[in-house]
């Protein structure tokens, strides 16, 4: 049964050394699905992604990737297994060029990755013109593209995105969401945290509403949007 899931986390407890921040989080998405995690500030959304990616000690609960236990496996083990992660902040190498950023995403690959580079430049056309420019000099939206491109360069089967549209203009936000849907079409599962909850849930296959380190609601994106309780408490009416 669990083999059906791309990633499946059950009853996660853990934190940063003090009190538990996660108190029983459940996350599961199937292959080629987009999962969206929403919830108020400090709910533990970022912490959940970190726990899945081995950046936080999971004290209780399990994480499986394609049916294999990866609980508390460190990132350097998970990247070769097909997981990639884009942090919420500081998610590009500012002093490296755009292309070098992408190459660092392909660090774990020993094959020729030139095709993947071209592929990234076709999904994110603005990056092609700026490939020799330092990533730190780009606009916020372009930096986010570099960050996602970097993660995609390892050819992951699952990509974790932490608020990819934070601080972006609505125009860029639509572009990024567009790319997320395209990434999934290419057969990559996406698990993302989003502040723009309504827009993100609209294209989510599964939505998770977290509050105070626990799942409040878990359902399809459409069902969550339609649920008056969710709408009232978490989607701003």
């Amino acid at each position: 049964m669990s083999g059906d899931y791309l990633i499946e986390a059950k009853g996660l407890f853990g934190g940063y050394g003090g009190a538990d921040i996660l108190r029983g989080v459940d996350i599961a998405i199937r292959r080629d699905q987009i999962g969206v995690i929403v919830g108020p500030n400090g709910a533990g959304k970022s912490t959940t992604l970190k726990a899945l990616f081995g950046l936080l000690t999971v004290r209780e609960g399990t994480v499986q990737l394609n049916g294999t236990d990866i609980t508390n496996a460190p990132p350097e083990k998970l990247v070769p297994l097909g997981m990639a992660y884009v942090p919420q902040e500081l998610n590009v190498f500012g002093t490296l060029t755009v292309e070098e950023n992408l190459e660092m995403g392909a660090y774990v690959r020993r094959d020729d990755f030139r095709d993947s580079l071209d592929h990234i430049y076709t999904i994110f056309p603005p990056l092609a013109d700026k490939k020799d420019q330092a990533a730190g000099e780009l606009s916020g939206g372009q930096r986010q593209m570099v960050a996602m491109g970097r993660a995609l360069m390892s050819e992951p089967s699952l990509i974790l995105l932490d608020e990819p549209t934070a601080g972006l203009s609505p125009l860029y936000m639509d572009q990024i969401f567009d790319r997320v849907v395209a990434i999934r079409k290419n057969g990559v599962g996406v698990l993302m945290v989003e502040q723009n909850a309504k827009q993100a849930l609209a294209f989510a296959d599964v939505g998770f509403v977290l509050a105070q380190g626990d799942n409040r609601f878990t359902d399809t994106g459409a069902a969550l949007i339609a649920d008056p309780d969710v709408a009232k408490s978490f989607l701003g009416g």
Binding site: E76, V79, T95, Y107
Partner: protein
């Protein structure tokens, strides 16, 4: 004319020589700071130890009867560089890594490196004693005197063989380092770790490998600098003490974490030293005949007396920290 040649010898050649030494040392300091985020105070001692390794192998080669067209110390330098790189990795493993793994604050790492300094100095004195030693065992140091066929010049531009080797070696290092950091997978990974270690880790970059590479480059270049300096003058056990301050000044002037800034910083500090201790009165000599009687003809005008040479990098260091803490190449703030 003679005065100008004297200026070339004392300021330009000496500045290039000492600047190269500082540059080779400062690159290591700045890379270690960029990757491991602490000021490695034992770096001067890696130079001394590296030179000592080279001296030992030179002595062995000399006693075995080997001869070479260039100084034996230069021939065996790669061996000393490799040995020092291994030593640096070993020191990291025994002293710095356990602290790092515990998440120790940088200031504690600095303290640990001061401990390593004292330990290495003790070891050097234990094995090599406290006297100065020459690398020229049954060899002659070649000195090139280039006559300048202009005017009435009697002096020659003077440069020694080890000085030429040092300058050529430094130039090769600059080019090789640039190639390594901008063209190779490992070099780019090093820059990535220096830029953002957390992101490097989540990208799957092998940070252990990057740390090892840092010590290999830092240790290797330190050994080369120590050996080449000792070839030019002599190997003194207190070598490191006199080099540490200018090397840190060079790294900070260049912008900490910036390898090419460190190289530029090395030459800035080197030239600042030679310019400061140069006796500028010598350049007035041609005008002695037309010098007004009323003013005494100056025989010595130097910014700093030679004995206080070390004050120059110290002054530069403080000035940079006050007025431009990120250095000329915009590095990290200390």
């Amino acid at each position: 004319m003679d005065e100008l040649i004297f200026f070339i010898n004392k300021v330009l050649i000496n500045g290039t020589v000492i600047g190269s030494i500082y540059a080779l040392g400062a690159v290591g300091v700045t890379l270690i700071f960029g990757i491991l985020r602490f000021a490695h105070f034992a770096h001067g001692d890696l130079m001394t130890v590296g030179a000592m390794f080279a001296l030992i192998v030179t002595a062995l080669a000399a006693s075995a009867g080997f001869t070479a067209p260039v100084p034996m110390g230069f021939i065996v330098m790669p061996v000393a560089m490799a040995a020092t790189a291994v030593l640096a990795i070993g020191l990291d493993h025994v002293f710095y890594k356990p602290l790092r793994d515990k998440g120790t604050r940088p200031v504690v790492m600095v303290m640990a490196s001061i401990g390593v300094t004292l330990m290495l100095q003790g070891v050097v004195r234990l094995f090599a004693g406290t006297q100065s030693r020459s690398f020229y065992i049954g060899e002659q140091k070649d000195i090139f005197r280039i006559a300048v066929p202009i005017g009435d010049a009697r002096r020659t531009i003077t440069i020694t063989e080890p000085q030429i080797l040092l300058i050529v070696f430094t130039a090769i290092v600059v080019v090789a380092l640039h190639y390594f950091l901008t063209r190779t997978r490992r070099g780019k990974a090093m820059r990535a770790v220096s830029d953002n270690p957390d992101l490097a880790r989540v990208s799957g970059i092998d940070t252990q490998m990057v740390v090892r590479t840092t010590w290999i480059i830092g240790g290797g270049l330190a050994a080369a600098a120590g050996t080449l300096l000792s070839l030019d003058v002599v190997l003194k056990p207190d070598l490191s003490f006199n080099l540490l301050l200018p090397i840190f000044a060079a790294a900070i002037v260049g912008g900490i974490g910036q390898p090419f800034g460190a190289i530029a910083g090395g030459f800035i500090v080197g030239f600042a030293e030679t310019v400061s201790i140069f006796n500028w009165a010598l350049l007035l000599r041609p005008f002695r005949d037309i010098w007004p009687e009323a003013i005494e003809f100056p025989t010595r005008i130097a910014f700093v007396p030679t004995e206080y040479k070390l004050a120059v990098p110290f002054f530069i260091l403080i000035a940079v920290l006050i007025w431009r803490p990120t250095g000329i190449f915009k590095g990290r703030q200390f």
